[in-house]
């Protein structure tokens, strides 16, 4: 009888002690959750894309709540409407968000690029990329298995002719596709851009041309055609300095391979302002 009693007493008292300890701890050690932070977090879209540079929406909310110098216009998927709410909550002056879009810097596709080998493996870009640098001769080519298509929360990407094409009209600029592309050929552009070089090949002209009909062959005709010196060929690839670019489209007209695309790339946030 006493055995059961001591067991009962021991067990219930240890339970009581543990419970009391936790109760005391939760009172004394409680951390106050900043109400402003909660409100800010609620205003953010919650995509956790990391475009703001704080990793997650929680991280950005914490930074905004604790530091007044953090800018309110860093949330790109949220765009102006979120920036407005954030500046109301933090009391910081409203600044317009520079809307951005993602674009694939490859114009290849089945009809333009040469296949390196017949691939029968797992159909993801990441897997194909691990086998001799991908299925195309050009090692900078879009693999076209659509890792980015699966990752895109807006369904803005589709595979056309064996390569990923981004419908910028649906793009919110979260940049998730940029991080999943094993080739690293998706880049973010300001959506005010009018020209984009859709090639990432750094080979010398002749070698690049052999691999793909739509590659940049570093002929420098765009350099000569540009009235503001905004486009420069560096490391056998044309690069546009968007600070100087006026969007006149002269470079796209003279490009012999057609790898410079001249278009209206406005994303989902600015599409209604047309």
């Amino acid at each position: 009888m006493t055995g059961i009693l001591t067991a009962l007493i021991l067990l219930s008292s240890s339970g009581l002690i543990c419970g009391a300890l936790l109760a005391v701890a939760s009172v004394f050690m409680s951390t106050e959750k900043d109400e402003r932070e909660v409100a800010i977090r609620a205003a953010l879209p919650g995509v956790n894309c990391g475009a703001c540079g704080y990793g997650t929406c929680d991280g950005y909310a914490a930074a905004l709540a604790s530091d007044n110098t953090v800018k309110t216009n860093l949330c790109i998927p949220g765009a102006d409407s979120v920036a407005e709410k954030l500046s109301q909550l933090t009391g910081a002056p409203f600044e317009s968000v520079v809307e951005r879009i993602a674009y694939v810097k490859c114009g290849g596709g089945c009809s333009q690029t040469v296949r390196k080998y017949q691939y029968e493996g797992c159909s993801t870009c990441a897997a194909a990329n691990m086998l001799y640098g991908g299925i195309w001769e050009c090692e900078w080519a879009c693999q076209g298995f659509g890792d980015c298509v699966l990752a895109c929360p807006e369904e803005a990407i589709s595979i056309v002719d064996g390569m990923a094409r981004i419908n910028t009209r649906k793009c919110t600029g979260c940049g998730i596709c940029v991080s999943v592309c094993p080739k690293g050929i998706i880049e973010m552009f300001d959506d005010s851009s009018r020209v984009i070089v859709t090639c990432s090949n750094h080979d010398k002209g002749a070698a690049a041309r052999k691999k793909c009909k739509k590659s940049c062959i570093a002929c420098r005709r765009c350099e000569k055609a540009c009235p503001t010196d905004a486009i420069k060929v560096e490391d056998n690839l044309a690069r546009i300095n968007y600070e100087l670019c006026t969007g006149c489209g002269e470079c796209a007209k003279v490009c012999p391979t057609g790898c410079i695309e001249y278009s209206d790339f406005r994303g989902v946030h600015n599409i209604n302002k047309m």
Binding site: G3, T6, A7, L10, L11, S14, G15, C18, G19, L21, L22, A25, S26, M29, S30, T31, G121, C122, T124, A126, A127, M130
Partner: protein, 197 residues
């Protein structure tokens, strides 16, 4: 003294690896080993919790349960104490070391009463270790767990990029891979005797 501690330490990492030879803690081993950073986070948390748990349960067993002749309540009391302890540690970390809490926070509640934590606490008693030996053995088991997690996360990354037959996809192939990794760990049997003889 040092020799005994070394034997306990090394053997609990390699020869008696709790995950791969005793099959304890399989749940986190399969659950959070998909990515390397998560595997490391989980492993470090387990080391931490095991050390705390052993430091508390060993005195309870020796000074309370054994004295009162209530050894049969071991499992019950240990679970109760470890669960409360982990909660307490979590609250304390949140208050005083927020950076450590944000690193370990997700994993702490997951391992509250994981069988590997309870297993170490109980085995330390049944193996008749003294306090220092128990601490060293839990540290070794924890490092062994981390070791197994890191190894296995590498295996899984490779697995994800292979064409697994449809019937095996997901958990089945992971279990097959785990059994092969565990087989390879039997190669360590006898290493300790050879090393210190």
């Amino acid at each position: 003294m040092i020799k005994t501690l070394t034997i306990i330490f090394v053997s609990s990492i390699l020869v008696d690896n709790y995950v791969l030879t005793r099959f304890l803690g399989i749940c986190p081993f399969l659950g959070v080993s998909r990515k390397l950073d998560q595997a490391v986070g989980m492993g470090v948390s387990v080391i931490f919790v095991m050390l705390c748990a052993t430091a508390v349960t060993w005195p309870i067993q020796i000074f309370i349960l054994d004295k009162l002749g209530l050894g049969y309540l071991q499992t019950l009391v240990f679970i109760l104490v470890i669960a409360a302890l982990v909660q307490f540690v979590e609250i304390t970390l949140k208050k005083f070391l927020p950076s450590l809490h944000s690193a370990l926070g997700v994993y702490l509640p997951l391992i509250t009463t994981n069988c590997i934590v309870l297993g170490v606490a109980i085995n330390n008693i049944t193996d008749g270790y003294n306090f220092l030996e128990s601490i060293v053995s839990s540290l070794g088991v924890g490092i062994g767990f981390l070791f197994a997690m890191v190894l296995f996360s590498g295996v899984r990354t490779r697995l994800e990029n292979t064409g697994v037959p449809e019937t095996f996809r997901g958990l089945p192939i992971t279990l097959v891979a785990a059994s092969i990794v565990s087989l390879s760990f039997y190669g360590f049997a006898g290493v300790i005797e050879g090393m210190l003889s």
